[in-house]
Symmetry: C2
Subunit: 452 residues, 2 copies
């Protein structure tokens, strides 16, 4: 890397124009790659003030903390002054208490008040991700006056492309986009050109719902109002994308039975990863006791001189197929719920659909299974082999049926009970399906083969 090279050679004159022309996101990545810790503040001090602040926002927590500790009060104050308020809030939430103290000491009074306000909103609410830096206009302004106002305040606003029209009590009346303003006559009144059918959200709404709304409507920002319908902030599309990506990662983690975390994989230490993964593995280990109990209880069947080992050998296939069939259904439903395509009111439609799917799939799979055990595994050569193959394939059918229904229904029920659909996914369902399929299997075995 040219920049790292120049930095280590202390060629600041060559470095300065090079970094000044760069993008904050790319710069943050270069900062991550600096090997000598002392060089971090050195490079940071070369950056133009606004770019320095932007780059700071893009860094990861560790690097931010390192940098804050290395900067003196005046330098830190300069960075804090350039930050957007919502980035300051993110910083406060991320840093350890001692760092927070220093950051707050270098922020002005208004910023501190705002931070306190935002921190009062629940962790996953729209209020916690909104910014208060939006453009608000009055409905008796002309288009020209609106432009004047935007020009004066634009530099401190996170977006100027959607402007909000409010009354004296800050109640939201409508919105005008920069495009509307550009296309309107200069002396038109905002009250006449504004769109009054504003789609908004409340501070207490779930941030994921707000983000999804922005995605669905294709908005650049969504206004956030309080209980009295006063406009208190906006959520911008870039923050909405971040929220959606985080929620998607969380769903992945939950389906994989990992306790969700905010940190990227490579930045999380081994012990932390272990702690995140342990709880579910322990729960599942203990819940596997039930499968074990069923096998023990059917000792006589599984120890039958001729068929015992054949029946035992087919257990992994049955349990595996059941687990896979169940998680196919549950993953589809969980994703559907996340995208708001499937709701609890669709319960019976889902059940009816999965019933048809599982009869089709179960039918095909049990025929495949019958042929496989009979010919591939060689049961055709064994006395009553066809009967054993029949037991296995009928169990297969029942397993697929139950697995699909459980896999589809559990996430919906979880949603209804205000639990997280993703948490009840694969691992829980697998355990349940294991127990059911083994019970069915052993019951069929006794029923069909018991008398022989």
């Amino acid at each position: 890397m040219e920049i790292l090279q120049l930095l280590s050679e202390r060629k600041f004159a060559a470095l300065k124009p090079l970094v000044a022309a760069m993008n904050a996101t790319d710069l943050a990545e270069i900062f991550e790659k600096i090997e000598n810790e002392q060089d971090v503040p050195v490079l940071f001090r070369i950056l133009p003030k606004d770019l320095a602040a932007e780059t700071f926002v893009e860094m990861d927590g560790e690097l931010k903390e390192q940098l804050i500790k290395a900067l003196n009060d005046k330098e830190l104050r300069a960075v804090m002054d350039e930050l957007f308020l919502d980035d300051t809030v993110d910083l406060i939430e991320e840093m350890p208490a001692v760092v927070v103290k220093r950051v707050l000491a270098q922020s002005d009074k208004k910023t501190r008040e705002y931070i306190n306000l935002i921190l009062q909103y629940p962790k996953d609410s729209a209020g916690s991700v909104m910014t208060i830096e939006f453009v608000s206009l009055r409905k008796d302004m002309t288009v020209e006056q609106a432009f004047e106002r935007i020009r004066k305040t634009a530099i401190d606003k996170e977006t100027i492309y959607t402007c909000y029209v409010t009354d004296q009590t800050k109640r939201l009346l409508g919105l005008v986009t920069a495009k509307d303003l550009l296309l309107a006559e200069k002396d038109a009144l905002l009250g006449d050109i504004m769109n009054e059918n504003v789609i908004y959200a409340h501070t207490s709404d779930d941030k994921e719902d707000v983000a999804r709304k922005i995605a669905d409507y294709g908005f650049l920002a969504l206004p956030i109002v309080d209980k009295e319908m006063r406009l208190v902030g906006i959520v911008t599309v870039d923050d909405a994308m971040t929220v959606l990506e985080e929620e998607n990662t969380e769903d992945f983690e939950k389906i994989a039975a990992v306790v969700p975390t905010d940190k990227p994989y490579l930045k999380t230490n081994a012990w932390r990863i272990c702690v995140n993964r342990l709880p579910w593995l322990l729960i599942l280990l203990v819940s596997a006791t039930f499968s074990g109990l069923i096998i023990s209880a059917n000792e006589a069947t599984l120890n039958m001189p001729i068929y015992g080992i054949v029946l035992t050998a087919c257990m992994p296939m049955l349990m595996g197929t059941g687990g896979n069939a169940g998680s196919q259904a549950s993953a589809m439903i969980i994703r559907g719920i996340a995208l708001d395509e499937v709701r609890f009111s669709d319960f019976w439609r889902v059940v009816w659909k999965e019933l048809r799917v599982s009869v089709l799939l179960g039918g095909i799979l049990s025929v495949a299974c019958f042929l496989k055990t009979l010919f591939l595994d060689g049961l055709y050569a064994v006395q009553n082999g066809a009967l054993v193959a029949l037991v296995i394939s009928v169990s297969m059918f029942a397993t697929v049926l139950f697995a699909k229904l459980i896999g589809a229904v559990l996430p919906l029920l979880a949603k209804k009970c205000k639990l997280d659909p993703a948490v009840v996914a694969s691992p829980f369902i697998t355990t349940l399906v294991d127990v059911l399929s083994l019970t069915i299997y052993c019951a069929f075995a006794v029923w069909f083969l018991g008398g022989i």
Copy 2:
């Protein structure tokens, strides 16, 4: 629903202002709920022309097709005229040939040429999702002239908030945002205020990479250039969000071993769902043969009079824990690869991390497993019970170790081989881990208990 009520009562005078004030996304949802097919074009004809086109874009494929068939040529032409070009392309790709023919017949020549151009780009490329409706400016224009140009053309452009400066040969020179323009002096030259460090992508780049770039940088649009660096289109943030959501859904489907599909769950018919899920279930059914073979081969061990059934009863626990441990690791790595946080160059870092994690986890789980089998399952009362519990818990340790390493390494190798990391996930890994854990288990059983 008030609107559906008014529609069925044919109260058009009351209906008209009500729908005209609504948002296209919400309207599309109302259209989906219309029960009488004949009412769809009726309501559609009430909408103002531009809102009608916007609503059309938001409808799902089935409804679009229905509507196109119901509209006469003149009405269809009116809709086509209002559509953005990229939406027209989406329509063409979605509709059956006979509908496409009618749509193309009602589009003007320039649109048809453009559609042909876009359709030539590979399915997952940036070219296939870009729009050509952007604002391009010259560097010798003043800010005032730029505004003039934007005002004149804004109505036909998908975004006017990022404008691109090009030379006579359409080569990309720089960009100015509407905010830059608003903050600049009226007589400033674009060449002086434009940002020359433009981040762009090529038409042949993967659309997912382009979308992630937009998300990472927080852009409203990304310019797309051809091989000669000529600006041919842009990808806007709303399209980027759609691409990312689709890719996330696809990853979910692949991890759940379902063949990916574009259609929402409830809109896909049972047979189609069955076809999407069948291939993997069949593959996994056949691959379970290996686990069966291992069990059959160890018939003697598993039929040991005293310990046989205990060992068999613990198989689901071992295989289940192995499967879960493996999919925890694989899901983290797959997500890390998707977010570009983990790359193949991190291979040894990942291995080293998972090795430490699995030693920690395996250690804790095997102790838990030893105590569980000894006391909870009552092995303490059996002769040599502690030895059997030891076999089980040592196997548990080895299973967790292998499962974690396989789960982490396979997606990385897949990525390196240009395969899809998500496809090799859970099901494949589970099968592999099943086979390994059973082999280890039976080997330990023979080794420790064989001589008794």
